[in-house]
């Protein structure tokens, strides 16, 4: 997969704690030449085609930064890799993935008046957002990531074969780290008498109106997650300190920290503690992890907890030899990320990177950085993270029919030339 001629045969000088500029002569020479090097190495995996680059932002996300987004469709917008390196992702850069069309502004016309039906509890009830706001408060920073993030790498691997994986060709930008504010679901459940006996799942239903002529089970966004998540699930009304936009699920969103994006039900209108998973198509057969050539079903795992993952966010293009800071983001899904290693030769030699910036808790990502001296040449930058349970990113993850949960370290490598 990696083109061998791009791998550097020069071992980099790793940053030690005193690490400072060496090879000043090399840097000066490079600068004096004033050579303009054509861009290479930017994330060009399937997805950022010329058409997508030119497509304007859909109306409901017109407020996003057009430079930061790749518009796959009006329901799928990806953050460009260069914009994924912030400790907290600004909303203007945050990716969007809607399974069905975003509802209209009427949903957020009266945010505090939005109603949530709660069932599967001792005292089923309907609560407004205003009432939820009186019951408790929490803020959780977490990685929000589409389960299909990285599918482009699976699809790339299948090129030239007779197999294909369908679905949006996300590379790395269907992910962000954001802070949700709301009320812990546990607090709400306690207030309404606790769970019904035998309840095993938290099931959230989106409030979108299903048009006539369609089977509701095929369309409805209704997801179930194990009830063990009662300790961490929140009903959120704020994203990064602002009322959640319609695009990101306002006025109320069910947030399941550590779980893939689809489980965070937007404009949640019903919250049930159920003894089985919902039989809605989006749960029953979709978003399942299964082998190529097989179909999704209740017999194979649902896309739930996310896995350890990281990627380099800088540098992404050619530049000057000399001091280079290789930086990126890393997370562990349900567990804190523990360590990140970087290689500038595509995985031959690894060096430990430092975490930089704040630790926002186990569900958030961390920025990492390694400053090093690189001589003129070609490099392949990769990062490899390990979580608090000792689980490390694989070189290449196993293919699955849906192209879900890609967390390999090899495919997202960045090829650059320094002069």
């Amino acid at each position: 997969m990696i083109d061998e001629k791009w791998l550097s045969d020069k071992a980099p000088v790793c940053s030690n704690r005193r690490g400072f500029l060496q090879g000043v002569a090399a840097v000066t020479a490079g600068g004096a030449l004033g050579v303009s090097i054509p861009l290479q190495g930017a994330d060009i995996v399937a997805g950022a085609s010329a058409q997508e680059a030119a497509t304007p932002l859909p109306e409901y996300v017109k407020w996003k930064n057009p430079d930061a987004m790749i518009v796959h469709s009006d329901q799928t917008l990806e953050t460009r890799r260069a914009y994924t390196g912030s400790v907290i992702t600004p909303e203007e850069q945050l990716y969007v993935r809607n399974n069905i069309k975003a509802p209209d502004d009427s949903f957020i016309a009266d945010r505090d008046g939005w109603k949530l039906e709660i069932t599967g509890v001792k005292s089923p009830t309907v609560l407004s957002v205003a009432e939820l706001k009186t019951m408790g408060l929490t803020t959780v920073a977490m990685v929000l990531q589409c389960s299909g993030n990285g599918r482009a790498y699976f699809q790339e691997k299948l090129k030239g074969t007779d197999k294909a994986i369908k679905g949006t060709s996300w590379a790395l930008g269907a992910a962000g780290c954001v802070a949700w504010t709301g009320v812990p679901l546990k607090t709400v459940i306690e207030a309404v008498g606790g769970a019904s006996p035998g309840a095993k799942f938290i099931t959230g239903t989106g409030g979108e109106k299903i048009p006539a002529g369609l089977n509701p089970k095929d369309i409805i966004v209704e997801r179930s997650v194990p009830i063990s998540n009662l300790d961490t699930v929140l009903l959120a009304w704020e994203l990064n300190g602002k009322p959640i936009s319609l695009a990101h699920g306002g006025p109320l969103r069910m947030i399941v920290p550590g779980y893939a994006g689809v489980n965070n039900v937007k404009y949640v209108a019903k919250l049930s503690l159920t003894d089985t998973e919902t039989d809605a198509k989006i749960q029953k057969t979709r978003y399942r992890v299964h082998d190529m050539g097989t179909e999704g079903s209740a017999d194979v795992p649902s896309v739930w907890a996310m896995d350890v993952k990281s990627w380099v966010t800088s540098p992404l293009s050619d530049g000057k030899a000399g001091r280079v800071t290789v930086a990126g983001v890393a997370f562990g899904g349900m567990n804190a990320v523990q360590e990140v290693e970087i290689s500038t030769d595509g995985g031959k030699n690894w060096h430990k990177a430092d975490f930089v910036g704040p630790d926002l808790g186990r569900f958030a990502w961390r920025q990492f950085a390694l400053s090093t001296e690189l001589e003129p040449g070609s490099y392949t930058l990769v990062s490899r993270a390990t979580d608090a349970t000792g689980k490390t990113q694989p070189e290449e993850p196993e293919l699955n029919a849906g192209g879900y949960s890609h967390n390999g370290w090899l495919a997202p490598g960045v090829k650059i030339s320094l002069a």
């Binding site: 058409q51 497509t55 859909p58 469709s73 009006d74 329901q75 799928t76 399974n99 069905i100 069309k101 369908k166 679905g167 109106k209 048009p211 006539a212 002529g213 369609l214 089977n215 095929d218 369309i219 198509k281 989006i282 979709r286």
Partner: protein, 112 residues
């Protein structure tokens, strides 16, 4: 020109005109067939989910096809296999799938 020759000329021109009017390449049917499938034949109706101005459709579920502008192959694959929320349209014949694919890929994004 003799009257006979004139008559022959008129008949010839009339025949040519008829040929041109009803020639396959001037037949609006392929697009119209696709449009009918889009609006009345597919189950569920394409028009319920997908906005497509040429068909007068404002969809409430799937991507706006005027924005997406899928090519014929992409439409054919989606209709045949399904994708995401979209089901596989097993009740449509290959000819019908070809017709609706041709239609959608031709008109998507054209009407303002």
């Amino acid at each position: 020109m003799t009257s006979r020759v004139r008559l022959l000329a008129v008949v010839f021109v009339a025949a040519l005109a008829a040929l041109l009017l009803w020639a396959p390449w001037n037949n609006p049917d392929p697009l119209n067939q696709g449009k009918q499938i889009y609006l009345t034949v597919s189950e569920p109706r394409c028009a319920i989910c997908h906005t497509l101005r040429d068909a007068g459709a404002i969809g409430e579920v799937g991507p706006d096809l005027d924005a997406l502008k899928p090519d014929q192959a992409r439409v054919k694959t989606a209709v045949t296999n399904g994708i995401g929320v979209m089901p596989a349209f097993e009740a449509l014949t290959p000819a019908q799938i070809d017709a609706v694919s041709l239609y959608v890929s031709t008109v998507a994004g054209k009407k303002k």
